[in-house]
């Protein structure tokens, strides 16, 4: 993965092509209630148990904007370094579908709440800026369930009316890897902000992917196709790869690309035409007369700005400067807010560099193994710091530390207790060590002679014996020093 040069090009028969990608990410706003009603947004409830008269569009029902959703959109906009529009408008997007009770979706068309912004990606070949075109708020639709009955469709309106942020990127992405990095970065920023949980399995984050190709060196964009509603990064990457190849093949054959909406079939790993531009819906957008234009005071923006947490880009900078981490380490440790919190808590109580090494090594490997994440780690940050500090002060060796770590995982106990109760403390008393070493040298006179006559490889043998004799508790550094001294004599 570590490439120092961008090299994602598709080779056609005649030409080499560059892939142009733009994403429309739909991120579910983290809020207790829906965008225009008081219904709960909790995931996984009984079908149709979180539906108000407004969500199911009963006659005479009216939407009332949920201020928390507005604040969340502003926070996200600020996190994307974007312009917050003090005047925005909610429009109706009209179409008929069984899971759209109003017969229209309330969205923002011409005047979104957030304007242009940018996101910074750390790619192996350097950092890259991806432009944000806009962010707007809209209602989610309900869910049609087609596979419960052969002749009918069931509708669950729990999701109907939940607030979504549609984040539209500029066509600045050039490869599936960049898409991967972009989605992860967006998710990280929103999780830091607490504006979207980014949970793709629960559908909190999904995207429409716009793909076009052009000959390397061309300035003009090619005709794009939109792949609708892809709900995992892996599928996005697969869809892009398939779609780019398909377009390149068409162009190489001298054919034209039709602008159309396509679906990604995850089973067959291919995109299929859903509807052409001619068949595109006419959504008849117009400002929703039930809602006044949304006005945002500068003071609200200022207040929200002040309350924003430190965001990943800034935190990374700080980790490098404050904790002496390298760029790679800092990147990994800020990738999730919970990870960075854990690290900071541990680093305050222990050696900063060693804590980073142990976190990214043993701790992450263990969490990965157990399918856990940092928030439900069996080792608390405080205990983890104690362990790191025990290594740093020479109380235990790195090898013993791994044993202590295992016991900590199983028992949740703190390392001090484990070291004491299991007698795992490192032997660091020079007098005691000298005694042990002298005994070993005395018992192995022949090997000492061989060593002295030049067979220096035997040094390892002596170390091994010391470890064996001390149940592995001998301080390795001290052992080395004393061994060298005594073998000289």
């Amino acid at each position: 993965m570590s490439k120092d040069k961008f090299d994602y090009f598709i080779k056609g028969e005649k030409n080499q092509y560059e892939v142009i990608i733009g994403l429309e990410v739909h991120a579910q706003v983290l809020s207790n209630s829906k965008l225009f009603s008081g219904s709960s947004t909790k995931f996984g409830a009984e079908p149709n148990s979180q539906v108000s008269l407004i969500d199911s569009a009963f006659p005479g029902m009216l939407p009332v904007i949920n201020k928390e959703c507005i604040n969340q959109a502003i926070r996200t906009g600020l996190g994307l370094n974007a312009k917050i529009n003090k005047n925005s408008v909610f429009d109706r997007k009209n179409y008929f579908y069984a899971d759209l009770p109003q017969g229209y979706q309330i969205s923002q068309y011409k005047n979104p709440i957030v304007g242009e912004g940018k996101v910074l990606l750390d790619m192996p070949y350097g950092s890259k800026e991806i432009g944000i075109e806009r962010l707007h708020l809209e209602q989610d639709a309900g869910k049609s369930i087609h596979d419960m009955d052969p002749s009918s469709t069931f509708v669950d309106l729990n999701r109907s009316g939940i607030a979504l942020m549609e984040i539209v990127s500029k066509p600045d992405l050039r490869s599936p890897e960049e898409v991967n990095a972009y989605i992860k970065k967006l998710r990280t920023i929103m999780r830091y902000l607490g504006t979207c949980d980014g949970n793709m399995q629960e559908g909190s984050l999904r995207a429409d992917v716009n793909v076009s190709v052009r000959k390397v060196g061309d300035k003009k964009f090619g005709t794009r196709c939109e792949i609708k509603n892809v709900n995992s990064i892996k599928f996005m990457q697969m869809a892009i790869e398939y779609e780019a190849k398909r377009q390149v093949e068409l162009l190489d054959e001298g054919k034209k690309i039709d602008q159309e909406t396509r679906l990604f079939d995850t089973k067959k790993n291919e995109t299929r035409s859903m509807r052409s531009k001619e068949d595109a819906h006419d959504y008849r957008y117009f400002p929703d007369p039930d809602l006044l234009p949304l006005k945002i005071e500068q003071k609200l923006i200022d207040d929200l700005k002040k309350s924003l947490p430190e965001l990943p880009d800034n935190k990374k900078e700080r980790f490098i400067n404050e904790y002496g981490l390298n760029s790679y380490e800092a990147n990994v440790l800020v990738s999730e807010k919970e990870i960075s919190d854990y690290y900071e808590e541990a680093a305050k109580l222990s050696d900063k560099k060693l804590a980073a090494t142990w976190m990214m090594g043993d701790l992450f490997a263990m969490l990965n193994d157990k399918g856990l994440n940092i928030s439900n780690s069996p080792i608390s940050a405080k205990n983890f710091a104690e362990l790191v500090q025990s290594i740093k002060t020479g109380e235990i060796s790195g090898r013993i530390a791994k044993e202590v770590f295992e016991i900590m995982v199983e028992s949740g106990d703190n390392p001090k207790n484990i070291i004491v109760s299991k007698g795992m403390k490192q032997q660091s008393d020079p007098k005691e060590l000298e005694k042990i070493i002298n005994e070993i040298l005395f018992k192995n006179k022949d090997k000492v002679d061989q060593y002295k006559s030049g067979k220096e490889k035997l040094f390892g043998f002596f170390v091994g014996q010391v470890m064996k004799q001390s149940d592995g508790k001998a301080n390795p550094q001290l052992t080395n020093e004393i061994l060298k001294k005594l073998l000289k004599g």
Binding site: L53, S56, A57, F58, P59, G60, M61, L62, P63, V64, I65, R92, N94, F96, A98, P101, Q102, G103, Y104, T153, V155, D282, R284, Y285, F286, D288, P289, D290, L291, L292
Partner: protein
């Protein structure tokens, strides 16, 4: 037949307060006449058991300090009433029983009023003659072959026929004022946002406004006071203090400046309307008001603008009636699209379909700018016309309608001529202003004619005062002869 139900609401309230009549007795008088007046077809639903029950409860523990103590009221069938069928005059909702109560009706019940029944109206309030109702046309008690106007035609008819002491309607382009004018009653369309729209079946959201329909101006002020108020469930509701319209009612209008817009003198307007208007001016002048000629230059664009904006919003508002969740569903069709098409083809009447088609058209890509967007711009100009004049005048006097009640069936095949009936009322909705129609005379057939007073934003008190003074000096007498009994 008791003389009591011929009385005005304010007089009936006095009788109830003085315990000269019990609520139950009063209710029974109305029930009796309603039962004998089915010919008028003004009621879609009655709920007499409920009404009597509530009246008995009131009589047991009368709270005479409320605004409408034990007063039975019938309501336009566009207001959702908890537990009682709410049809909007449509086949689509013919069996729809809401489990919620509109804010406005809730306000009335809180003031002691009792639901007497649901009144006929044009389907989804789309019409000017109450002939588009799925439940049949309503007859104007003024004369058996005439329409009561629309869309609040059932309300106007029931009120004029003494089948309810007062009522409420909704006014999107004249639906309160025009039927009031046709039946010799008072109808007020408040400032947009004064009365909550929550729980009212929507026609055109940016124009719809509920308002009172009564036999007198004083009644009108009592009803408005009871129904108006800020509602956080309606984002377009205006946040302001409640006003005591009835207490503050006065007849002194000396020095007020009344504007007479020259653009309202339309071509082919019957001479008697012109005379009515002149007579109105004279009365106000005699009362000490100053009459000032004004110009509202964009008036001629109001009707076309209205017939773009209102259908556009309606086409979207009515999308929810799709047979999926509630209301009528066609039994025909093999898939979702066919079910939609059959449901909406069978469930909606012609006028509703016509407006959905117009609305869909004007919002379509490629036409949006030329129609909807332009109409919104013109709407601003119409509003500006009013705003500019209201700097120098206090109210505007115009005729309410270009004619008196017309014959049943006379305009049903000519939608444009039907739409023209709203020519004087529509600009007010586009500008969001309050306006009241008051009976001002009879034409040569003996049919009532109304004059309209238009006020500044939230200046309801002022137009009520002018109307009150006018009423006292106009000597209008509505001669309803109970011919249908």
């Amino acid at each position: 037949m008791s003389e009591i139900i011929k009385k005005n609401l304010s007089e009936i309230i006095e009788l109830l307060k003085k315990k000269e009549i019990k609520s139950e007795e009063l209710v029974n008088l109305y029930i009796d006449k309603i039962n004998k007046s089915k010919k008028l077809n003004s009621y879609i639903t009655t709920c007499f058991e409920h009404t009597i029950q509530k009246a008995k409860e009131f009589d047991k523990k009368p709270n005479i300090n409320s605004l409408l103590p034990g007063v039975p009221l019938a309501i336009k069938d566009l207001f959702c009433t908890n537990g009682f069928k709410t049809t909007a005059g449509s086949k689509m909702l013919k069996n729809f029983i809401p489990n919620y109560e509109s804010t406005v009706t809730e306000n009335l019940w809180k003031e002691g009023a009792i639901l007497l029944g649901k009144l006929n109206c044009d389907e989804y309030a789309m019409g000017s003659s109450n002939e588009t109702s799925h439940f049949g046309n309503v007859i104007n008690p003024v004369a058996k072959d005439t329409v009561p106007g629309g869309s609040s035609g059932g309300s106007a008819s029931a009120l004029a026929a003494d089948l309810t002491p007062a009522t409420i309607g909704t006014d999107t382009g004249g639906s309160i004022r025009q039927p009031a004018s046709f039946t010799g009653t008072v109808g007020l369309k408040p400032t947009y946002g004064l009365c909550s729209r929550w729980g009212i079946v929507a026609f055109a959201s940016s124009l719809d406004q509920a308002g009172p329909m009564t036999k007198s101006v004083k009644d009108c002020s009592i009803m408005l006071e009871a129904m108006a108020g800020f509602d956080k469930k309606d984002s377009t509701s205006i946040e302001k203090k409640k006003e005591n319209y009835s207490k503050n009612l006065k007849t002194d209008i000396k020095g007020l400046k009344i504007g007479i817009p020259k653009e309202y003198r339309v071509e082919n307007m019957p001479k008697e309307i012109d005379e009515l208007w002149n007579n109105g001016k004279r009365i106000l002048k005699d009362l000490g008001a100053e009459i000032i000629d004004i110009s509202l230059p964009h008036t001629k664009y109001a009707l076309p603008t209205y017939y773009i904006v209102a259908p556009a919003e309606a086409s979207s508002n009515l999308a929810r009636y799709d047979g999926v969740k509630y209301g009528y569903r066609s039994s025909k069709g093999n898939d979702l699209i066919e079910m939609y098409m059959n449901t909406r083809s069978e469930g909606f009447g012609d006028e509703v379909k016509r407006r959905i088609l117009i609305g869909t058209y004007v919002l379509s890509s490629g036409y949006y700018d030329a129609y909807y967007l332009k109409a919104q711009k013109v709407r601003q100009l119409i509003k500006k016309d009013f705003d500019e004049n209201f700097g120098k005048i206090d109210a505007i006097l115009t005729p309410s309608t270009p004619s008196s009640a017309f014959k049943i069936g006379e305009k049903t095949n000519d939608p444009i001529s039907m739409y023209l009936n709203d020519i004087f009322t529509v600009p007010v909705n586009l500008a969001g202003l309050p306006a009241i129609s008051i009976p001002a005379g009879l034409d040569k057939k003996g049919y009532p004619l109304g004059l309209q007073l238009i006020g500044k934003t939230l200046d309801e008190q002022n137009i009520l005062n002018i109307a009150y003074a006018f009423e006292k000096n106009c000597n209008f007498k509505n001669e309803i002869k109970n011919w249908w009994l």
